[in-house]
């Protein structure tokens, strides 16, 4: 079971963007050492026998068998969008549907995966059972690669490894858990720049794999989220001299419950626009929803699979939590919800902390809607300014 180096995985995720439908693009791509068979001029032709484009209206990728030095490797590589009309994160609804493996995933990513599945199945039909399948992708392509890796782990005998760069969250918490269990944490290489906003969206209950885990992380001294940080070429440059061990992330502060509590209770002003603020808010949401209100993740999922928006679902859950605690008188849920709402409102520039807010469901939904719109805009701004 070979593991690709960060450099090779990143170069593959990058070079797939240059493949269109002309055979010369594929030939250039397959001239990489991972695919080459023999050192004569015909190797392009031979390699092409073991590869195919997987192309639908929604998505684009390619499958290829490894060459003589990678005989036991199979590559499935997806690319992010190159079309102007790409709008897979602009919809505030951010719906969820059940993946082929039974776990809740983002509708857009799942439909891209499903549109390519027949071609992937066809390609894998005669694959060696002992092969290692490397699923690779950047941005949207990384989300699709994640769903593909989960499908392979559930349906195929081969080993699977997943490498993503700047990928958004592919599905809900339960999907991230299932993927991590099935594929194995050691086989998941989720790589992201600290200042790339795309991996931060959508908000909780969408979660990144591996879960538990923090992925592979490239720190940055920059103070703001940037377009460059999402660019695949930048990822290639960042990781090319590093190993996975270098990139493995230690536990970040906002993943520790006591730090999240301290952050919520602190009176320090919130600086909107710093990359970390969205991670803190996301962690605040996780803490308040799962620890304070005691809402079951399953009920959040049910809301998202129905007609409710993400903002509706979270507002409903928070409100439910407050109601229950008022009845039982056990925990002061409204205190934590209020602290969280104040932080979100400050980050959105909606005013100074206010302890007299009435936490109605409508009010919270409006704040959350603004928050979701803003995080998606941050992501769009970063990747939209070419």
């Amino acid at each position: 079971m070979s593991v690709l180096s960060p450099r090779v995985a990143a170069e593959l995720a990058d070079e797939v963007y240059a493949v269109n439908r002309s055979s010369i693009d594929m030939e250039i791509f397959l001239s990489r050492p991972e695919f080459s068979w023999i050192a004569d001029k015909k190797h392009g032709l031979i390699a092409e026998v073991g590869s195919r484009l997987i192309h639908t209206n929604d998505a684009f990728g390619l499958c290829a068998h490894g060459g003589k030095n990678n005989k036991n490797d199979i590559f499935i590589i997806f690319r992010g969008s190159t079309k102007l009309k790409a709008d897979w994160m602009t919809n505030a609804r951010l719906g969820v549907q059940t993946s082929t493996s039974g776990w809740p995933v983002h509708i857009g990513f799942n439909s891209a995966f499903k549109s390519m599945l027949p071609q992937i199945q066809e390609f894998l039909k005669n694959a060696s059972k002992t092969a290692t399948i490397h699923c690779i992708g950047h941005s949207l392509g990384g989300a699709v690669a994640s769903i593909t890796a989960n499908w392979i782990a559930n349906n195929k005998p081969q080993n699977v490894k997943l490498y993503t760069f700047g990928a958004p969250k592919p599905g809900l918490m339960l999907f991230a858990n299932s993927l991590t269990r099935k594929v194995g944490k050691k086989n998941i290489f989720r790589t992201y720049h600290a200042t790339d906003p795309v991996p931060m969206v959508p908000l909780f209950p969408f979660m990144q794999p591996p879960l538990p885990g923090f992925g592979h992380y490239i720190p940055s001294s920059e103070a703001i989220l940037t377009a460059d940080a999402h660019d695949m070429k930048k990822y290639v440059k960042s990781v090319s001299k590093l190993t996975w061990a270098h990139l493995e992330r230690r536990k970040p502060p906002y993943s520790i419950e006591s730090s999240v509590k301290l952050w919520l209770e602190s009176k320090a002003p919130v600086h909107a626009g710093t990359p970390k603020i969205w991670e803190w808010i996301n962690s605040g949401l996780i803490f308040v929803l799962t620890k304070v209100t005691g809402v079951l993740v399953g009920s959040l999922q049910a809301g998202l699979m129905g007609a409710m928006t993400l903002a509706d679902t979270i507002a409903w859950a928070l409100h439910k939590g407050i109601e229950l605690s008022n009845k039982s008188g056990l925990t002061d849920v409204s205190k934590w919800v209020l602290l969280l709402m104040n932080k979100i409102m400050q980050a959105l520039g909606m005013g100074i902390p206010d302890t007299s807010i009435e936490l109605t469901q409508t009010f919270m939904r409006n704040v959350l809607e603004k928050l979701i719109r803003r995080t998606n805009e941050e992501a769009n701004k970063a990747v939209g300014s070419i």
Binding site: A18, N20, I28, G80, L84, D87, S139, L140, K233, N380
Partner: protein, 149 residues
Amino acid sequence: MSLFSTSKEVVLCSPMEGLLTFEGKPVLGVKIERRLKWYDGDESADDFVITDNNGRFNLPIVKQELKVSGYVQFVVSQEIVALYRDEEILIWAMGKSSKIEYGELGGKPVDLRCELSSDKIITRDYNTPMMTRCTWDSLEPWEDTEYPD
């Protein structure tokens, strides 16, 4: 500023000035066609030049003000073919994802020569993987303003 429609001048193809030969001899009056595609083929621009009496050609820079909505990795597919003796001979192919001038190779090629009878060369020695039948002596020093070290 709208978050969803930032626009920027993008160099879709840098200028290419060079000599076209067949078996080492300059070929005159040969049509060289340049085909550019971006946004996954939704947009394209084609042009052509004819080699002069010395076999020389001069493809001008192609640039455009482009708008992009979210989550798009920019790449322009460049294909340049010479129409020689009723045959289309591909002399240049790459997917340029750099947006700046001379981002293809990481510098301006000096003394560019394209030989129609040569085997195609696939190389990763420059900024972007590419196929070409052209060679050059050197690249003029170039500052990478997109991905500086």
